[in-house]
């Protein structure tokens, strides 16, 4: 297993999490469409790609990323293209032939159907939402079901919102829902949505949570301590240095919020230290240096601050102040009473609970140790926040 800090981890670089993948398959088996929800960098895309690379019997899986899509028709076009070019479908002769026939009859404008190079002529812009329905109606999947995974869906909504306005963004949420509810076709496919922006958050801000309330939510949780240990040991197999159990425990204790990315990043910094100093055994002091370097590397954390900028005025001030207080005070925490007092100061008595819940959902803070006391979920993020934002 190789250290992976940028790309989604795939193949043998993906740290298998059977409990989580089984949970996802159970949700898929129950026929619902799903949101995979988790803060940035928890491993959502890696999980989706694992499902794509290792589909269960009776499922075809298509992965689409729609980050660069700015209108609804283009969104459905990307999905249609992805279905026509889907690798797992291409392996089945019968299905492929059915697609070719389909394409010929549906896409009169397609001058060539070379599966990999479906070209669409410029003159007739088709309505790809309709085409999607037509395909779904007539495609013979030989008893399989199609899982369409859409990465960066919320980004697409935001793109459309910015370029074409709120109404068009809402329309995409609505049309997605309409497809999911269309009983003529919805036995043939399921959607799984995910992305680095929270779909629930954007729907809430557009006051349109109702358009996604049929979706089942899978929360990607951090690794357990056991899993964390086993991930480190897997990574060590491909590295030239060793770490004793107590050093591994020390590192896990320092990271505390055990998302694979933080562990990978810490290991990457340790690898740098190994390269610089040729240490064959890594001890706690190198772990300390590695974590210090992680925090120094601003761009790994600044997203946590930047994405709060979607909140405006007092909402924003309130959120920032809550986080500042936790990061600076000696106890590294804030009580519910103090939060309420801040809410009163910013005239947010009505809405502060929702803001607080967003901070919890997005992985900033939690109250898992004491019910009415909130701390940063990740001590590393707290240290970064204290150093770069609060001061």
């Amino acid at each position: 297993m190789k250290i992976t800090t940028g790309q989604a981890a795939r193949g043998e670089n993906f740290f298998k999490r059977p409990i989580l993948t089984n949970k996802l398959w159970r949700k898929i088996d129950s026929d619902s469409s799903i949101i995979i929800s988790a803060p940035r960098r928890v491993g959502k895309t890696s999980l989706m790609r694992y499902i794509e690379d290792n589909p269960k019997e009776k499922y075809y899986v298509v992965y689409v990323i729609t980050e660069s899509v700015y209108n609804e028709n283009k969104y459905y076009k990307e999905i249609v293209k992805a279905i026509l070019n889907c690798d797992s479908i291409k392996k089945r002769d019968k299905v492929i032939n059915s697609i070719k026939d389909l394409a010929k009859s549906i896409f009169k404008s397609i001058d060539e159907v070379g599966i990999d190079s479906v070209k669409f002529s410029k003159n007739n812009e088709l309505n790809y939402y309709e085409k999607f329905i037509e395909i779904m109606k007539s495609i013979d999947l030989e008893g399989h079901k199609l899982i369409i995974m859409i990465d960066e869906f919320a980004q697409t909504i935001e793109n459309i919102q910015q370029k074409e306005g709120n109404i068009y963004a809402l329309q995409l949420l609505q049309s997605n829902r309409a497809l999911r509810q269309n009983s003529d076709i919805n036995n043939k496919f399921q959607f799984i949505y995910t992305g680095s922006i929270s779909l629930e958050g954007i729907a809430r801000r557009m006051d349109s949570s109702k358009y996604i309330n049929d979706l089942d939510i899978l929360k990607v949780t951090p690794l357990s301590e056991e899993e964390g240990k086993s991930l480190i040991n897997e990574l060590l197999k491909g590295l030239d240095f060793t770490m004793a159990d107590n050093t591994i425990n020390y590192m896990l204790h320092k990271i505390k919020w055990l998302i694979p990315f933080y562990i990978q990043l810490a290991m990457d910094k340790i690898q740098d230290i190994y390269d610089e100093e040729n240490l064959c055994v890594i001890y706690n002091n190198s772990v300390d240096i590695a974590i210090k370097r992680m925090i120094e590397e601003n761009n790994k954390f600044s997203s946590w601050y930047e994405r709060l900028k979607v909140y405006k005025n007092n909402d924003y001030k309130f959120i920032i102040e809550v986080l500042d207080i936790i990061s600076i005070t000696e106890a590294k925490k804030i009580t519910y009473n103090e939060i309420y007092d801040l809410a009163v100061r910013y005239n947010l008595e009505e809405t502060y609970k929702e803001l607080l819940n967003t901070l919890i959902d997005d992985g900033y803070i939690n109250n898992e140790e004491e019910e009415r006391v909130y701390t940063f979920t990740s001590p590393i993020l707290r240290m970064w926040w204290c150093k770069k934002i609060a001061n």
Partner: protein, 544 residues
């Protein structure tokens, strides 16, 4: 600019054999990236890289070294095909053009890819041409069972011309296609990978090239000696160690500048300052170009920051050029974005010139007598400091000067007898050190004022004076030393700049003012300041 060695070392003029043979620095970075390429199956999309460094740090050479190694490696060349896009890619303005140019290069790399560009071109009228181009490229790579390693020099120059949706599209491709892996090089990545709103935020794995350290520099100069057939190179390097090291620290260990320096060391035998002046002449076209690209207001601001040398606040700049702080701020942000200056986060932001040797060039070129004098003092300081023996030996020597406590007392008595009548620097300086050694601090400081006065018109005792300052810090007399530094008639801050910053480091916990002052230290001084602090600790330990 004399460029004989420079052009001979220009990576674009070298054959494969020459480039590989001359590749003596950046070996670790090369190994790191190459090992990753070698161990990557590319079954799934792999991690993409950006090599980041300022101009002249060896980015192009490193890219070329990777390119040649992939082609040479028996196993890799069967499954990978590298393509290198050189620095000037003025014609790539759109994403489809990137694929077209890549196709043209692939055709040159291997006959297998003949006709690829034409194939793309037949679709140029179609919608989604950029999608089709990439699909065709990807398809061809699959067909030929080859994965593409695309090495792009000056990648930010290419990316910044793309529209946002093209950047997003490229990111989608790089996230999903296992056929292509990008290794880019750039001198200003900040805007692309540190800006949260941009698609490539935190996308590339960043490898930063730093200036060469002393050891790397020596190896590099030795190699240059070998290439240019200077048989006495080792002798030259040995006898000029302090000079070379002083200039390395001033120039930040930039390989391209060290090549220029190599010529100067071989050609003339003047003082270090003289060599610096020659070097300044040679880099002038390069740096003048930086100044010429700025607007008149920005030039004025840079003039103030550069002449101040140490970091300076917005308010101070605004006062000097009689402009509103707000307007100055806007310009400063722009200059920071363009990589000309650095911002030091403090309550009030402070700014300094980012490329430190550019600052020295400016002082020497546009500063008055006073500024040049400051540079001369720093050069002298560094040369003396860097010529000193290893720490252990210095400490021993120090001990010999001081002798043992008993001997010292004896000396003290001796000196005291002569004290009243002498006006000799050496005697008074030795007496001051002896007094300090015996914890007679107030008397020692009195003598210090005296010997500083005696040495005020000459620099020949600077080494001894610095020794006394280190001793004073080892005795934890920070505030007394600070008072000495503040006596403007001695110009000690200018003459002993690194020592002054070492003092600020030691005092920074006393008061916020010192902490802020310490943050003003320029990168060219950092290494020396650290060594002085270490020396203070050593002396303190030895003479406890």
């Amino acid at each position: 600019m004399q460029t004989s060695s420079l052009s001979l070392y220009n990576p674009n003029n070298l054959t494969e054999k020459e480039l590989i043979d001359r590749f003596v620095i950046r070996k670790k970075e090369f190994q790191k990236i190459f090992k990753d390429i070698k161990n990557s199956e590319m079954k799934y999309p792999e991690q993409h890289y950006i090599i980041e460094a300022q101009r002249g740090y060896g980015k192009t050479t490193l890219l070329k070294r990777l390119y040649f190694e992939i082609k040479r490696d028996e196993e890799l060349k069967t499954r990978l095909i590298p393509v290198i896009l050189p620095e000037e890619q003025y014609n790539i303005r759109k994403l489809f053009k990137l694929w077209e140019v890549t196709a043209q290069h692939l055709q040159m790399e291997s006959d297998e890819f003949m006709g690829l560009y034409d194939e793309m071109n037949t679709h140029s009228e179609g919608e989604d041409y950029e999608d089709i181009c990439f699909k065709i490229l990807e398809q061809k790579l699959k067909e030929k069972n080859k994965k593409l390693i695309l090495l792009i020099d000056n990648i930010e120059g290419v990316l910044k011309k793309f529209k946002i949706y093209e950047q997003q599209k490229l990111r989608e491709i790089l996230l999903t296609s296992a056929e292509i892996r990008i290794i880019g090089a750039s001198s200003e990545v900040l805007k692309f990978i540190n800006d949260y709103d941009k698609p490539f935020y935190d996308f590339f794995k960043q490898i930063t090239l730093k200036g060469m350290n002393e050891e790397e520099n020596m190896e590099f100069l030795e190699k240059l000696g070998e290439i240019f057939n200077k048989k006495d190179i080792n002798e030259i390097l040995k006898s000029n160690r302090g000079k070379i090291e002083a200039l390395r620290r001033l120039t930040g260990g930039v390989p391209r500048i060290m090549i220029l320096l190599f010529d100067i060391f071989i050609d003339n035998s003047g003082s270090t300052f003289k060599k610096l002046e020659t070097l300044i002449d040679r880099v002038t076209p390069l740096y003048k170009n930086v100044m010429d690209r700025l607007s008149p207001v920005q030039q004025e601001i840079i003039d103030v920051i550069a002449l101040s040398w140490d970091a300076i606040t917005t308010k101070e700049i605004a006062e000097k050029i009689r402009m509103q702080s707000k307007e100055v701020s806007a310009q400063l942000n722009q200059l920071e974005k363009n990589g000309v200056i650095n911002k030091i986060p403090e309550k009030n932001y402070m700014y300094q010139i980012k490329e430190r040797f550019f600052n020295i060039w400016y002082l020497m070129r546009f500063g008055g007598k006073k500024e040049k004098c400051k540079v001369q003092w720093l050069v002298d300081f560094l040369e003396t400091w860097c010529s000193r023996e290893a720490l252990e030996e210095t400490a021993l020597k120090f001990m010999n000067t001081l002798k043992t406590k008993e001997v010292y007392k004896y000396n003290l008595n001796d000196y005291e007898k002569t004290d009243k009548y002498t006006n000799d620097f050496i005697t008074i300086h030795a007496l001051a050190e002896s007094l300090l050694w015996n914890d007679r601090i107030e008397e020692s400081l009195e003598k210090a004022s005296l010997f500083l006065q005696l040495a005020n018109n000459t620099d020949k005792y600077n080494k001894s004076i610095n020794e006394y300052f280190i001793f004073l810090m080892a005795k934890k007399q920070y505030n007394s030393l600070y008072k000495l530094f503040n006596k403007s008639e001695f110009k000690l801050k200018d003459k002993f700049k690194p020592t002054y910053y070492a003092l600020m480091y030691l005092m920074k916990n006393q008061n916020e003012q010192f902490e802020i002052e310490y943050k003003k230290v320029g990168e060219e001084l950092e290494e020396t300041v650290e060594e002085i602090i270490e020396e203070v600790n050593n002396v303190e330990q030895k003479y406890k």
